[in-house]
């Protein structure tokens, strides 16, 4: 995203070497390193390697702890044939519905949350008066600081009863759609309620990132669109969205990462079953998520069952990793800095924005007074 090429030497400490200073002196400054630089370089390198070590440590811990449960015989091992792991033929038959549930519930949460979040971001960046925008973005950021247990309790006492009438209505009138079928919940502990709370939880993340990206849209793109007679919405569609597309995708995937790992809100709100289910309005046919399942069953699990729960965590770890990887790939391939054919075509829909090509286009079209007189 940064416009500064990596090879441009920038030395804040040396006033003579500000950008724009003669190049020769900058080159000599680079070879001269000071103790402060070395210390800072060491610290930041250390921080970077530490995070890798922590990540590797977590992965190693998960693998070592999970292995006994993954390799155990789930039909004969006395520790696994009781309690929470009862009735599963193998680790994979235990974890598969959990993975499905995690992805399913998160996806519905995103389906509800992402459009709202992008709407908020757009309002803040392009519609709201400056003062309102400041307050609003502050409030949305504040939402990210609310602990998930608070969202969980809010879900139990507010969202669950609030959604009950909607649950009944959807089930009664749209029950032929698989999502809304089944015996409608009387308690409100549905996937829908969980997903609504998840949506509220991912909104601050998606909003914050999208807002920053929307604000970075080149002013010239926007003004060019407006100058061509585009309405504000057309301007956003033609100038802002194409520019911010990859940013929005990565914002949504980061939100997905948050939703995948959400534990307490789901554990408190959703009535779980270890099944593959599309239903979102029932009490007894809600697909359970990995994190909520672990939180609910960890306290009463024996050693091997704890290993099994850690094993489900390992699978979630891998999925979250994959989601983030996909987010990175998308950003790398379609980001504003990428040289993909798609990006070029999109920009060509608009008049050129950088001053030199605008001037060039003007020069080609001839002097301004000639054009206006010819046109009229």
């Amino acid at each position: 995203m940064s416009a500064t090429p990596a090879d441009t030497p920038v030395q804040i400490s040396n006033t003579a070497n500000r950008p724009g200073a003669p190049k020769g002196s900058a080159r000599t400054a680079r070879t001269r390193s000071r103790p402060g630089d070395l210390v800072f370089k060491g610290l930041s390198t250390g921080a970077a390697s530490l995070i890798m070590a922590i990540l590797a440590g977590v992965a190693l811990f998960l693998i070592i702890k999970a292995l006994p449960a993954i390799t155990a015989n789930w039909t004969t091992n006395p520790q696994l044939t009781t309690g929470v792991t009862q009735g599963h033929s193998s680790f994979w038959s235990y974890v598969a519905p959990l993975i499905w549930g995690t992805v399913f519930v998160s996806a519905i949460g995103l389906l509800i949350g992402a459009p709202i979040a992008i709407g908020i971001a757009l309002f803040i960046s392009h519609y709201a008066p400056r003062r309102v925008a400041g307050v609003l973005s502050y409030i949305v950021d504040l939402l990210a600081a609310v602990p998930s247990i608070v969202f969980g309790l809010w879900g139990i006492f507010v969202i669950r009863p609030f959604l009950l009438p909607l649950t009944g209505w959807l089930n009664h009138h749209l029950g032929w759609i698989p999502f809304f079928s089944g015996q409608a919940s009387a308690t409100g502990s549905t996937v829908l309620a969980g997903a609504v709370v998840l949506a509220v939880m991912v909104i601050p993340i998606i909003t914050a990132i999208s807002r920053e990206i929307f604000l970075q849209t080149p002013r010239l793109h926007e003004e060019a669109a407006l100058a061509m007679g585009a309405t504000k919405w057309e301007m956003i569609r033609l100038a802002v969205f194409p520019y911010a597309r990859s940013g929005m995708v990565s914002a949504i995937l980061l939100g997905l990462g948050r939703a995948l790992g959400e534990t307490m809100a789901i554990a408190l709100i959703v009535s779980p079953s270890l099944i593959f289910s599309l239903k979102i309005l029932t009490d007894g046919q809600n697909s359970q998520t990995v994190a909520a399942n672990a939180a609910l069953n960890f306290p009463d699990a024996n050693d091997l069952q704890r290993d099994a729960l850690i094993g489900t965590g390992l699978v979630l770890f891998i999925i979250t990793f994959a989601v983030n990887l996909i987010a990175r790939l998308i950003v790398a391939r379609t980001g504003p800095g990428a040289k993909g054919a798609k990006a070029k075509r999109r920009i060509q829909q608009l008049p050129p924005s950088d001053p030199s090509s605008v001037l060039l286009a003007d020069a080609e079209a001839g002097p301004l007074h000639l054009r206006t007189s010819e046109g009229s």
């Binding site: 309690g83 308690t187 409100g188 502990s189 009535s271 009490d283 939180a295 069953n297 306290p299």
Partner: protein, 373 residues
């Protein structure tokens, strides 16, 4: 992090519970403090040290009351009981050697007995009954404040054979009550729980032909509304309509309790009472040692309960016979001795709604505690 959240909520709930109990009973636990009868051989005020323990959340309110009462006399002692661990976690930490004793709603299973022998040495570990309560059946049916149920209808409701409130089987037990034609929503525990184990024991012992599921800490029937914790079940039953659920008596609060038939026939229907649970223990429980000398594992035969509360809930403390540190052994034995004294049981009854254990079993526990060294 996330598990810490559970602990945080539990802590808030615990503080609230203590606050509530002190509201309802103006006299503090200290008024029934263990001055004389607790452990005659030990002067509690000379004790000092820290007891580290944890496990069953059902016991937690009682543990808080016991801790307050015990430390008011044994002022040098600190007792930590971590209820966020649950029964399984408590036993795991205990066999791992980090707990002085663990609270658990189910006695040690054979695998845990073996593990305990490794941790505790030749003497092994002891199951000592400490906390007696009951599983209450709660419901929310608009317009109905009194509901009679027998074990057969309870089993049929919870295994989803009876699905409507106006089912003839329920109507026959509740003559004169207008039952709606609505669907029943059973609310159960989503997390593994000793309450579930005690409740499924009751169902499978009384109605083996209807309740064909195994006794389990995890709720065995799919397709019902699962909630986290006893308080989750209670709040969902209370907030819902046409709901029925089960919960440890200590978390029931103001929810409406169903009356349960004593025995398998007859017309006596009772709600939970402390004296009823004590009676149930006297009638139904027999000591069935797991083979370790001094072990007091209780086998409940709920079919033998004729005049007590039909669904008792018993929770244990498990402790090593041989401690690495003799001082620690003395301290832990003194605390457990206080819990299983008449005073200790009265403290739990007053502040945590527990039922006092009968004197006979308390004497057995005192004998077993002499083995703890």
């Amino acid at each position: 992090m996330k598990l810490k959240n559970v602990a945080a909520v539990s802590a808030i709930a615990l503080v609230t519970a203590i606050a509530l109990s002190s509201c309802s009973s103006p006299s503090s636990p200290a008024t029934t403090a263990p001055t004389k009868s607790a452990a005659p051989t030990v002067d509690l005020s000379t004790l000092s040290g820290t007891i580290t323990s944890g496990g069953s959340s059902a016991q937690a309110n009682a543990e808080a009351a016991w801790t307050a009462a015990f430390t008011s006399v044994a002022t040098g002692v600190t007792i930590n009981y971590d209820k966020s661990q649950g029964s399984g976690g408590g036993v795991t930490n205990w066999t791992g050697g980090s707990y002085d004793f663990a609270g658990t709603d189910s006695a040690l299973n054979p695998a845990q007995v073996t593990a305990a022998a490794t941790t505790c040495g030749a003497g092994g570990g002891l199951d000592l009954p400490v906390y007696l309560s009951g599983v209450a059946i709660i419901f929310n049916l608009p317009g109905v404040s009194k509901l009679n149920l027998d074990s057969k209808t309870i089993a049929s409701i919870f295994n989803k054979t009876i699905t409507k409130w106006n089912d003839p089987a329920i109507a026959a037990l509740n003559k004169g009550v207008t039952l709606p034609a609505d669907s029943i929503t059973p609310v159960v525990r989503a997390d593994g729980s000793g309450t579930t184990a005690n409740f499924t024991t009751y169902l499978s012992e009384t109605q083996p032909s209807i309740w064909t599921y195994p006794v389990s800490t995890a709720w065995p029937v799919t397709g019902e509304s699962g909630q986290q914790g006893g308080s989750g079940v209670v709040s969902t039953v209370a907030a819902g309509k046409d709901t029925i659920g089960y919960a440890d008596q200590s978390s029931v609060g103001t929810a409406t309790q169903a009356s349960i038939q004593q025995g398998t026939s007859g017309s006596t229907f009772v709600k939970y009472s402390a004296s009823g649970a004590t009676k149930a223990f006297q009638q139904g429980a027999t000591t069935a040692s797991n083979g370790t000398s001094g072990d007091l594992t209780q086998k409940f035969d709920v079919t033998k309960i004729t005049s007590g509360y039909p669904i008792p809930l018993l929770s244990y403390a498990v402790v090593c016979t041989t401690f690495k540190d003799a001082t620690q052994a003395k301290l832990t034995a003194a605390y457990l001795g206080f819990i299983d004294s008449a005073n200790g049981q009265a403290v739990a009854a007053k502040n945590a709604g527990a039922a006092p254990l009968p004197a006979a079993i308390l004497a057995d526990v005192a004998t077993s505690l002499k083995l703890v060294k």
